[in-house]
Amino acid sequence: MSKYLLDKFLFTVDRDPELVERYREQPRATVEWWEAEYAGRLLGCHGGERSTWPRFDVVEREALATHDYPRLFELGAHPFLTLTLFIAMFERDYDEPLGFQHEYARRLAHHSLPYPDIST
């Protein structure tokens, strides 16, 4: 489990308009690129200083690569980060106001308290 790295992916993609579109259109390729090139970046440091150890596990990588936000919720990814990024990618595909947000809630409706732990 690497909840921190899941959150780091969501955080770094959500704040970059170009990455938001890349992840929407090519999720698996974007996840593979990000894990190879971005996962070890120390934010705020130049590229010569990197963490050497961050890796997704198989389940996390697949959840990201398939845009599986219910699975990300189950894995303990921070729900605010997941929601914000997925609204940016998919709200445009729904005609009704809040259509995607309501669909998002419906797909999580089988969850009850306590929700998965989001502590990193």
Binding site: Y4, D7, K8, F11, D14, R15, P17, L42, L43, F73, H78, P79, F80, L81, T82, L83, T84, I87, A88, L98, Q101, H102, Y104, A105, R106, L108, A109, H110, H111, L113, P114, Y115, I118, S119, T120
Partner: protein
């Protein structure tokens, strides 16, 4: 010494800016009443004639991140840029620029440390909608210097509710001991029941109207004892997975004082979350 002239607590619904500026068919049916309520709330700050604003809020994973996460942070910068790309994208919020009040920042930091709060600080802070929304609603001319105070209500492990209250009490003490003759208002924003990224999100009301009613009663009555007897880090998951932002309301109750009834209270039941507005006048002045 400085005078604390108003203590103000509210929600920070990020869609207010878009709703209040929309026209024609884009203007939602609840916008007119929302604007009326916000303008009445704004008058409670205007009436206090503040010179400086201490702004309490919470970074929503914008500048503060899990590689270096402070629990409580005071901005100490001459200026603060504001709002982020994803807030422009999702909420239509504008880019903004604020002037800082570095002397008061330094006073809060030194005094806070001496009172036992290990405060973090930032000399280059880009603030987000937890602070810009109350500027838009309460002081849209953005003509006063600010001191941002950020709390961690997002990334466990969080400080406990009592610590938020204690920090509010300390902020009150420090504002009133600031060796300056200016008039200070402390404005803080938090959440009532709120769900984000979960099954109870974006309903026709907040996810837990019963909690909202009780929370508004606690705040309006200044009932810190009752609030602290029921609110814990564990209990706050029940009304919604983002309800830990209620601890910023508790911080503001600490600023206002135990048992201190709000001089102004208003609410507005909207989709997604209830809006709530509270003003206290510490010296009894300014009350309508």
């Amino acid at each position: 010494m400085a005078e604390l002239v108003a203590v103000i607590a509210s929600t920070h619904h990020p869609f207010y800016h878009r709703a209040s500026t929309a026209t024609g068919p884009d203007r939602p049916p609840f916008a007119d009443e929302w604007v009326r309520k916000v303008e009445a709330f704004r008058e409670t700050l205007t009436r206090a004639e503040p010179d400086v604003l201490v702004m309490v809020g919470s970074d929503h994973f914008h500048q503060l991140w899990l590689d270096n996460m402070p629990q409580f942070l005071v901005g100490k910068a001459p200026h603060y840029d504001a709002n982020w790309y994803n807030e422009e994208r999702e909420f239509g919020l504008p880019r903004m620029l604020f002037t800082g009040e570095e002397d008061l920042s330094a006073h809060l930091l030194r005094g806070g440390l001496d009172l036992g709060f290990d405060l973090a600080f930032s000399n280059e802070l880009r603030i987000d909608h937890s602070i810009t929304c109350p500027i838009i609603t309460l002081r849209p001319q953005n003509d006063l210097p600010i001191v941002p105070v950020y709390t961690n209500i997002f990334a466990p492990p969080l400080p406990r509710p009592k610590r938020f209250v204690q920090l509010g009490q300390a902020i009150r003490e420090l504002v009133e001991s600031w060796p300056d003759e200016r008039r200070v208002a402390v404005i803080g924003t938090g959440h009532l029941s709120l769900e984000l990224g979960g099954p109870r999100q974006f309903g026709p009301h907040g996810p837990d109207p019963a909690f909202d009613r009780k929370a508004v009663e606690w705040i309006a009555a200044g009932d810190l004892e009752g609030c602290l007897s029921e609110v814990t880090l564990d209990s706050l998951w029940n009304p919604g997975n983002a309800t830990h932002g209620f601890m910023d309301f508790m911080l503001m109750m600490g600023v206002a004082g135990e048992g201190r009834k709000a001089d102004y209270t208003d609410t507005y039941d909207l989709f997604h979350t209830m809006e709530a507005y509270f003003t206290w006048y510490p010296d009894g002045g300014g009350a309508a």
